[in-house]
Symmetry: D2
Subunit: 186 residues, 4 copies
C-alpha cells in the first residue's frame, strides 16, 4: 500500500465519446487501475507505439481490473483532426476501447484535459490508481516491461473497500483528518 | 531487355500535388523506373507497411534511376480524407516524395487513376519501367526482397536499346512508326 | 501481501558458474525478486526471445531489487553444449548476468535443477519472490507486459524485515506455527 | 549483360558438407545465381540477421535460378564450433540449405575459403553470377531491398548470350581460347 500523498486525477472534460454507450467519468471507474492514452490521430508516435501498446494492455488485463481509455488531445491541425475524422480513424484502426475527445479550450491550442494534466505532448500515458490518483505520467515511449511493472504494482494495491477508513483519512486521539486536503474539494 | 508486350501505364489524373514544385507526368519521368505507391491516409496497412517501404525505396535508390511517387486514392471516408487532411498527414509523417491526389470520379467512390489502373484497394504498389509500361502491380504487402528483385531487374533493362526502334517510337528517314502495335490503340 | 501458501524454490544444483565471482544460492539472494532464465545455447527460442527478455529485465530494474540469473539446462546435444561452448556463447552474446550450468543427472537427459523445478523445456522463466518462493513459471514465450506486471506485483510485496514476524509464522491463542511446514526444513 | 571484367569466384575448400547428398562445387552450380552466406554458429549477427535473410532468399526464389549455400567459416572458438556442434545447430535452427565447413588453414585462424575470398568477418554475403564470377561481397548487414535489387539484376543477365563467346570459353573452328585473360591463370 502506497501511503505517499498523490494528487487526485483532474476530471476529464470531454466533448464527445466514442466506443462507449455512456460518458465515462473518473468516479465511475473508481476501484480500477486506469490507463489513459492521450493521442492525436495524425501523430506518428501515437499510431506506431502509443495506441498499439494501449491495445496490448486492453487485451492483457481483465476489464474489471484495468480500464484503458483513449483521449484525443488535439493541439495541432484541429481543422482536419475533427471528431468525424477521429471516428473514421477509430473504425479503420479498430480501436477497441472508449475514446473521448478532449474539450477545446476557449483560447490557445491545448485542450482542457490536456492542460489540466499538464501533458507535454502526445502520446502521453497516464496511470491512475484504484483510488483515482495520478501515479505515473509518461510523455513519449515507455517499454512494455516498465509499464507492466507499474501496472502490476498498482494492481497489487488494495482498493479502498466500502465502509473502510480511507488511508488518507485517519482518526487519532487528536481528531479526524479529511481524506483529502480541503482545497481539493470536488 | 524484356520484349514481351506490356501495356503503357495510363496517365495520372491528379487533382492536386504535394512535395513537388510542378505537376508530374509519366512522360516527364520516362527513362526512370517508377514506384507508384497508392494509399489512403487512414488505411492502417498503408501507414504501417506501404508508405514505410516506399520511403525505404526512396532512400535506397538514386533519384535519377528510381522515382517514388505517392498517389492518394481515397475511396472511403472522403469527407475526412481531404487534401487539407492529407497535407497535415504528409507533414506529420515526413513523407519525402511527391504525392498526388487522385481525381474523384463523377460517379462512384473509386477515383479516376485508381480506376484506370484497375487497383483492388490500398496499399497498391505499381512498378512502371523505363519505357513507361506497367510491369508489376501488387495489392497488399510485398516483401522488400521480392520488390528489390523486381526493381533490380527493371533497372537492369536498357531504357531503349541502341539501334532499336523505340516502342514510343518515332520518326526516321523512312517515315513515322506508331509507338505501339496498332492493335493496342487506347 | 500474498499470504497464499507457495512452495519454497528448490535449491540450485550448479556444476559451474560464469559471470560471478562466487557461486550464487537462493538464501544469498533472499529479499530480492529473482528472475531465473533457464535456457540452452542452441535453442532458437531462447536466443531470439528468452535471453533478450532477460537482458531487458536486467537493464530495467535495479540490481538491489531484481536478480536475473541464467541457468544452462542442457537436455539435448550435451556433447556440443559443454561448459566450454557455453563460455564462448556467453562471451559472443555479451550476456551480462550470472549463469550457472545445471548439474547433469546420474541417469536421463534432464539435469538436476530442471528436474527439481519440473520444467517442461527451454526457455523457462521462473519468478521467485523476496521470500524465496516460486510464484510463477512460464515455459515458452511470455510478453513483456505480463512479465512486467508479475514483477511489479512481486516488487510491491514487503520482504520479511529482520525481527519481524514472518507472514507464515503466526501465533494465536492456540500456539505458534512454524513459518514453513516442518517437512520443508532446509 | 555485364561485360565488365569480374574475377571468377575461387573454388570452395570444404571439409564436410551438411544438408546435401553430394559435395557442391562452383562448376556444378554454373548458370544459377549463388548466394553464399558465410557465418559462424556463435556469431550473434549471423544468427539474428545473416542466416534469417539467407532463409528468406531460399524461400523467395526458385531453386533453378538461385542457389543459397551456407559456409561455416570458423575463425574464433574452433574448439567449440566443431562440425558436430554445427550439425546440432543446423538441426535446431532448421537451416534448409546446404552448408559446407570451411577447411581450416595449416596456419592461422582464418580458414581456407574465407581467406581466398578475402572476407573481413562474419556474416559475409557473397553474390556469384550465372557465369561463376564474384559480383558483390558484403560484410555485416545488407537490407533486403538492396540485396533483392542486386539479385534481380543478376537474374536478369543471360547466362551466356547467344552467339557470343562464353567467357569460360571454349573451342571453335579456329582453336581453343583460354577461358580467362592469360594473366588471370589460376
Amino acid at each position: 500500500m502506497d501511503n505517499t500523498y498523490h494528487p487526485l486525477a483532474p476530471d476529464w472534460q470531454v466533448q464527445q465519446w466514442f466506443n462507449t454507450p455512456a460518458p465515462l467519468t473518473l468516479p465511475s471507474l473508481r476501484g480500477k487501475v486506469i490507463v489513459l492514452e492521450s493521442f492525436q490521430m495524425l501523430c506518428p508516435g501515437c499510431v506506431s507505439h502509443g495506441l498499439p501498446q494501449a491495445i496490448r494492455v486492453h487485451a492483457a488485463f481483465p476489464r474489471e481490473q484495468v480500464a484503458v481509455i483513449g483521449l484525443h488531445t488535439v493541439f495541432e491541425h484541429p481543422d482536419v483532426m475533427t471528431p468525424a475524422a477521429l471516428q473514421a480513424f477509430l473504425h479503420e484502426y479498430r480501436i477497441p476501447f472508449p475514446v473521448g475527445v478532449d474539450q477545446p479550450a476557449p483560447r490557445g491550442p491545448i485542450p482542457m484535459t490536456m492542460r489540466a494534466y499538464a501533458m507535454q505532448g502526445t502520446p502521453t500515458l497516464t496511470l491512475i490508481d484504484r483510488q483515482g490518483r495520478v501515479r505515473q505520467q509518461h510523455f513519449g515511449q515507455i517499454s512494455d516491461l516498465v509499464l507492466g511493472a507499474q501496472l502490476g504494482a498498482l494492481l497489487n494495491e488494495a482498493p479502498v473497500a466500502a465502509g473502510e477508513a480511507s488511508p488518507f483519512a485517519g482518526c487519532t486521539d487528536d481528531g479526524c483528518a479529511t481524506p483529502e486536503p480541503a482545497g481539493a474539494a470536488r
